[in-house]
Symmetry: C2
Subunit: 550 residues, 2 copies
């Protein structure tokens, strides 16, 4: 049996475009004599559809799409992910399902058993879990069809106290009792820089322990903040990966079931570093955010600092240099080298850019405010005024020219709240808001791997917001290498204050930094969507109360 694997980039909610893509791949698979083609989880509607699933018209549209696909299914079997309706008035209204289509008919609808409801996942908000896993007979083969989390009956723990626990149900164990010839797993498994390794572990263990070949079909592409990296796989019964589709790109391939078992693991998976992975993921994330929302042109403020330089370079790679515009907006506190570094960057990248000094506006804002202010003392108010004038100019440029503003905050800043709300927090998307400052430097060096794109000055000078004379980030924060390790243990690994002190971090630093993280929830609440590249990004996957004391 020849089986086609369709690794597609779906657009959430765009059922028409997704269905067309699916139909094209079916035609392609038939032309290549495939007996079966497999699409990823919720392919019809794209993942994650969120509360669109609560709209009756959306579900009806999704069911019409299945009928449309059925017209192309005469001499091929199709496995495709879509929501299906739970007719039982008890329980949730929907299932997260794999439709098995054969001879122009729905042969079987298999429902997902394990519904991830943690971090960015809210599947139990919408779906009823399946209770009785069943195998399906296709072309004389017994096939166990599973959906993403269904294989994750044993979750690897990377947090000391979290949801990374065993599930009560183990659907694969039950399915294995029917001695299937093949396990199919359709997935929408989001990228994070350590996810691919975990995934491989789970897939290998399933194929090896149950001694069944496994085909894993993942979604690729980004939808808002969530990036899917593809890398669909075929594993033999030794748990070896004998085929892997591209990462961060659409791909299509065909395997012969009978050959999987015998085939050795002769492929060399490209082993990307963590920084390369993040780089590639963010480029894809920016590209899809723009393409899928109908924007071509981006805009950002160029300060001469490392963050805006890295975002500019990533955006140029994603959208093309001519589509990424820069505004240089120096104030009296901007150093000469900052302005020249920003200019050099724009020239190196070939970005259109303008320089607009903010001093005049700043002066008039201050004189306008003076009747309402007790004195002329310079404090954080005036620092923020500068950032907000820049935010205002960027948004005006965005409105006039139709460029979407990119936010340039990094994860370290977002964590401790070192940013000005409605100033440098502005933007339609935050590309590096899940990247710690130390990793931003590493990405800069990676961008410069062949030639100097980001000026040495931006990489080497001490980080500064340049909102008052001689300001440096290290005036009030530990150095970034220490800060970032502490933040990682606190945010990703959920270590407590006591745990952090026990690890050897300076107690005063720990108390200060964790307090800053906690009290700045209100600022992050109003952040743009942040491209998720870690296992715990700010945004929908991390839900902390604002008005709280802890």
């Amino acid at each position: 049996m020849k089986i086609a694997i369709a690794q597609n980039n779906y657009h959430v909610g765009n059922i028409e475009a997704n269905t067309n893509k699916i139909n094209e791949q079916i035609i392609k698979a038939k032309a290549q004599k495939a007996d079966m083609i497999i699409f990823s989880e919720l392919a019809i509607c794209g993942y994650p559809p969120l509360d669109l699933l609560e709209q009756k018209s959306f579900i009806e549209k999704s069911q019409k799409a299945i009928n449309n696909i059925l017209m192309h299914v005469e001499d091929i079997v199709v496995i495709v992910g879509a929501p299906s309706i739970n007719d039982d008035p008890q329980g949730k209204k929907l299932y997260n399902s794999a439709y098995v289509l054969e001879h122009g008919q729905i042969k079987k609808i298999v429902h997902k058993t394990l519904l991830p409801t943690y971090d960015i996942f809210d599947e139990y908000r919408y779906f009823e879990p399946n209770e009785v896993p069943e195998v399906v007979e296709i072309n004389g083969h017994t096939i166990a069809i599973t959906i993403c989390e269904d294989l994750w009956d044993e979750q690897p723990v990377d947090q000391p106290f979290a949801q990374s626990r065993l599930y009560k149900k183990a659907p694969m164990k039950k399915l294995a009792g029917n001695s299937p010839d093949l396990v199919v797993n359709i997935a929408a498994s989001p990228f994070s820089y350590n996810q691919e390794q975990k995934r491989k572990g789970i897939l290998k263990r399933n194929a090896h322990d149950y001694q069944i070949p496994l085909i894993y079909v993942n979604q690729v592409g980004a939808n808002t903040d969530i990036i899917f990296d593809g890398a669909s796989k075929v594993l033999n019964t030794n748990g070896e990966i004998i085929k892997q589709l591209k990462r961060f790109e659409e791909d299509f391939d065909i395997v012969t079931l009978e050959k999987i078992e015998k085939q050795g693991a002769n492929i060399q998976n490209p082993s990307e570093t963590r920084i390369q992975q993040i780089h590639n993921a963010v480029v894809l994330g920016i590209r899809d955010y723009f393409k899928k929302s109908g924007f071509e042109k981006a805009l950002l403020g160029l300060s001469g600092g490392i963050d805006s330089a890295v975002v500019a370079a990533l955006a140029c790679e994603a959208l093309g240099s001519k589509n990424v515009h820069g505004l240089l907006m120096p104030s009296e506190f901007s150093s000469d080298h900052s302005v020249s570094d920003a200019e050099t960057l724009a020239l190196n990248l070939g970005m259109p850019h303008h320089t607009l000094a903010i001093k005049e506006i700043y002066n008039i804002v201050n004189s306008t405010l003076s009747p309402a202010f007790p004195n002329n003392n310079f404090d954080v108010t005036e620092e923020n005024i500068q950032a907000r004038i820049r935010g205002l100019l960027l948004m005006a440029y965005s409105n006039k020219h139709g460029n979407m503003l990119l936010n340039t905050s990094n994860k370290s800043e977002a964590a401790v709240g070192y940013s000005t709300l409605y100033g440098d927090t502005n933007g339609g998307l935050s590309p590096i808001g899940d990247v710690y400052k130390s990793d931003v430097y590493a990405i800069a060096r990676y961008i410069n791997r062949d030639e100097t794109v980001i000026p040495a000055g931006s990489i080497e000078k001490p980080p500064s917001a340049e909102l008052r004379p001689d300001q440096q980030d290290s005036d009030s924060l530990p150095d970034y290498d220490i800060l970032d390790r502490m933040l990682f243990e606190f945010i990703e690994r959920k270590q407590s204050v006591d745990d952090l002190i026990g690890m050897g971090f300076n107690k005063q630093d720990v108390l200060k930094v964790t307090h800053l993280v906690n009290i700045n929830e209100y600022k992050r609440y109003q952040f743009p969507p942040i491209l998720r590249v870690s296992s715990k990004a700010f945004g929908m996957g991390r839900r902390y109360p604002i008005v709280a004391k802890y």
Copy 2:
């Protein structure tokens, strides 16, 4: 058996303050010879604790709090809500539990069976559901302890296609098999203007159908965007409410179990109109948002329009007039009567206020931008510049004086995106972002019920953003009475475009308005927290994708 009902206002995460409050009430109940005292759901940590539940140190603190309370429990039984640990490595790490404390010991921990995971609720994110409901013997009485949703085994449907469905488990049915003498329901049931009626229906049905007296203890007070209205109740076996605690206030009362059954329904529940309810809820929401985050003073822009007038009046009621500051920031497009209406309002309320004209800043912003702009044409860019200058001045005032900025957007505007991001969307809290414009008018009239607080001009003039000459909201939108009914059917009741047209709304209006709602998700994503007063507020309870086509 004398039973005390403690209806408290808890602060999320503030376990120390919550525990102190609980201990005080225990001492008070003992002084009044109560045999038992009942506190609400997750009282120890406040509801909703969100991802604080994923922190080991937070759970440990919560367990220490139980030990602390035990020291006060010698001659009284305490029922109090707190998270408890699931020792089984399978399933979620925690239960949402009712601790029964007696003779200085934990007598029993009862777990919640039905975990709401829809709208604003994410309980399955954290908690393992209970499988076997059991009654508890207390002082010779058999008591069925349930937690909030546990009684909602039949949900009233107010959306044609949603999660309002039957649960598979019916814990109360099982518990009733043990013929309990009393049902206790500890709850954290959030306010919405139609919730109290639904709640009464459910409580009455349970008491009546099972012929068991029922004590319902709810949380009161607001935590961030979620408001709890209290109104704890005692019902006799006829399903009649024989006692109801205060709404929107802390309260404490004692009932005698033996008397409940015989007692007739002699109480008159105050019947508040929908507008009164919303008014009272928003005042509580503002007050708690400020108090619990340590702010005393608010700030808002006064445009002379109805929205800022209503927010100002509500804030003055919540915080006291001297703590609510106003900025009047007229532009060349502001009408004379707008400025005079704003001044009159500030005088009527006794609010400190300043007038800061924005024309000079506006001119310099335009001249600064001109090298980057193709021409001097006035379009939406220049409209937004005015709104953003106002946002900037408000934030500067906020920074300098320590006043928290209140957002003044209403739900109709937030729905169709008629607001300027980083301009009039600014604020720490949106008090009326879940109130449709027509209801804002009704609240204004209610505020004016005894004397004119909000000037007639603000209520009577046609709504306008006053960002260009002779602008009116009705230039590009249906009148608010039509718009708001359409939005209600689309957002609260999730009707489709076809449904709306079928109801008689103008097709072009429906297509335009629903499109505007859908494409403005990006703007709402960056909104401040919105006080929830309806069954479907923008915010955490409504999760739509940004980069999507539908």
